[in-house]
Point group: C2
DNA sequence: CTTTTAAAGTCAATAATGCTGACTTAATGC
DNA sequence: GCATTAAGTCAGCATTATTGACTTTAAAAG
């Protein structure tokens, strides 16, 4: 009966709204900062993942983001031209390009993630360690299985 | 010291990635369904909130969504023209329009939220009741204070 | 060595969703 | 009567995604 209590349609709808509004808050700080650089969320995501997985291949980035090569092209082109991302020819396979943040790119990544981390830290603090565990568990289960596999693949490579 | 343990920059970055990927999964089911109707996320959001707050005013919907009147116009126009939303002249103030879902609109809302609820229910089940509590607490804290106030205002009206 | 495949990059056209500015219409409040 | 408010509209633009059709370069397969 416990299961019934926390699985009512209304509770689920509330959870859905929470996801929507929390995500909105979650992206609001970076969005504001990005405006100063005439960049958008697409640039932020590229910067984030290049930082997290230094030297990753263009194909891996496409795979993570789940977008097409043509969609990424404009964004990546800008970041490279603006000197935030360094695209180096692969050492083993020269067809590949390994992506790295330059110092300038790292600086913007810092600025963006500082704001986002600050918000997350405050939320975590207010909710407490056990809540954070629950938060993470539920989010992991909301993710697509396919996405999880993709992430695992990148982590392994 | 406990606080230090769960507030490392890496843990926070992991949480940020989790939010990104979970939100992606969260929207994937409705996105797929909406394609069959040539609608997008904007239509979904309008349908969701009109269902949750039956009879709400256009201004309230704008307030909740945080978009401009011109942005909502195209979407709402379509939903009304397609017979999913009913716009009724306010009984007290005839300048106002109260929004309701028609039977057709309610049917689409069902289809969309069934898919989303199914995913949430599975995630909640897998994580357990305490995790759900934590999930909710953290998300509430991630939200903007401004957003919370807006929601409260609608709930009161 | 030649052909096929793979990785990256590009150009063009299209779509969804947001924005701003400049309005109109209708109803309310004073 | 006149200013304000709620709703609705038109036009133009930006961002970010899409698909399709290519090219270039390098590796792999035959």
């Amino acid at each position: 009966m416990d299961a019934m209590l926390f699985l009512t349609d209304d509770q689920l709808l509330q959870g859905i709204e929470l996801m929507y509004f929390a995500y909105k808050g979650f992206t609001s700080d970076p969005d504001r900062i990005l405006q100063n650089y005439a960049y958008g969320r697409a640039h932020h995501r590229a910067i984030h993942f290049i930082n997290r997985h230094k030297g990753l291949k263009v194909n891996d980035l496409l795979d993570i983001l789940g977008i097409t090569k043509q969609s990424l092209n404009r964004v990546l082109r800008q970041l490279i031209d603006d000197g935030l991302v360094d695209s180096r020819v692969g050492s083993k396979d020269k067809r590949e390009r390994n992506l790295y943040l330059t110092d300038k790119g790292t600086a913007l990544e810092r600025e963006l993630s500082d704001a986002q981390r600050k918000r997350m830290r405050a939320a975590y603090r207010a909710a407490g360690p056990e809540a954070v565990q629950g938060f993470r568990m539920v989010l992991e289960n909301i993710m697509d299985g396919e996405t999880k596999q993709r992430l695992q693949r990148i982590k392994d490579s």
